[in-house]
Amino acid sequence: MANFTDAASLQQFDELLKNNSKSLTVVHFHAPWAPQCSQMNDVMAELAKEHKHTMFVKLEAEAVPEVSEKYEITSVPTFLFFKGGEKIDRLDGAHAPELTNKVQRLGSGGGGAVGAGDVPKEDLNQRLKRLINAAPCMLFMKGSPQEPRCGFSRQIIQILKDHNVQYSSFDILSDEEVRQGLKTYSNWPTYPQVYVSGELIGGLDIVKELVESGELENTFPKTVSLENRLKSLINKSPVMLFMKGNKEAAKCGFSRQILEIMNNTGVEYDTFDILEDEEVRQGLKTYSNWPTFPQLYVKGDLIGGLDIVKELLEGGELVSVLKGEN
């Protein structure tokens, strides 16, 4: 059919774009060895019947490297959408419903009134603002953290992971409007781009420099896992007592008794009121595999509860245990 063809060279490709500049051209970068590409070619054939004014082009990605490299085609199938000789959208992967949707949306309409142009742009800016604020730290990248699709995106993910940064991400390969719009919105021409509290921090180079200068920790929100938090708490002082209440006011009999014993040893210690923090209260039971409170720690190691402390006292070992000897 007239609106479904092959491009076997750069020259043919350019000619097709030129000849069809007034309406939509869809280019399918495919490979004969990929089964999804065959399926998508079938989808394209069906779409070509329904959209007579849209040009559909199959281009074997590896056979025409000049075109593939120009448009950064890194996997097949990939679809590019052209109008007026310019690329206006992109779709990576075999998403038949999305391809159909894009052909329908991009193929219809076109020019429109002069004023109509303002509405989409306003919507886009609102959308971009919403996206960069979607999480305290937002990474706009190629692919996803699980499957990064360019070297720079891969590197930045590794850095964020190494530093326990908590972030969400957006795959710019999934939305050409966002991909191009954000470059203008943020006056930053490349990806990845990383934002904190809706402010652009920069790209990979800047993140690397933040690592070198030691400023990265201050810049990005950090994941503090419960385990890390508990570890930090039990090491807050050489001797840590997790109890109900505090030194001035114990709120249960066992806590009161252990305070009395501790005070009599003359050893310095700190306390944490588990009644103030349910997460710590429950977490510490699991972390230390000890079901009750009070719990006494020396240099981060669990000694035990009241009964064990009493036994240590009777055996004359308590002070040396508290000092971390033996």
Partner: protein
């Protein structure tokens, strides 16, 4: 015309007063253009990293459209001297 290290160097010197520019062409063979640049300029004085990188990005706005992967490091002359001393 395709982007060359020399073009990048000349633009950075002319437009942002760079006193030293290292341009490394990191393009893998048959792949799209990739460059790594070190730029030393007094105009970076008192500017945050983001501003500095933007200055370079804006200077090379046309070239960046054709560059696949671009890496940069921006230093003031003072930082450059300090780095060389290490």
């Amino acid at each position: 015309m395709s982007v060359t290290p020399d073009l990048i160097r000349k633009k950075l010197i002319a437009e942002i007063g760079a006193i030293h520019v290292d341009v490394e062409d990191t393009s893998p063979s048959r792949c799209a253009a990739s460059f790594k640049v070190l730029v030393v300029s007094p105009q970076f004085e008192g500017k945050q990293l983001l501003q500095r990188h933007r200055m370079v990005n804006n200077c090379l706005a046309q070239e960046l459209k054709e560059i696949h992967a671009f890496e940069q490091k921006t230093l003031t002359p003072e930082q450059w001297e300090k780095q060389k001393a290490q």
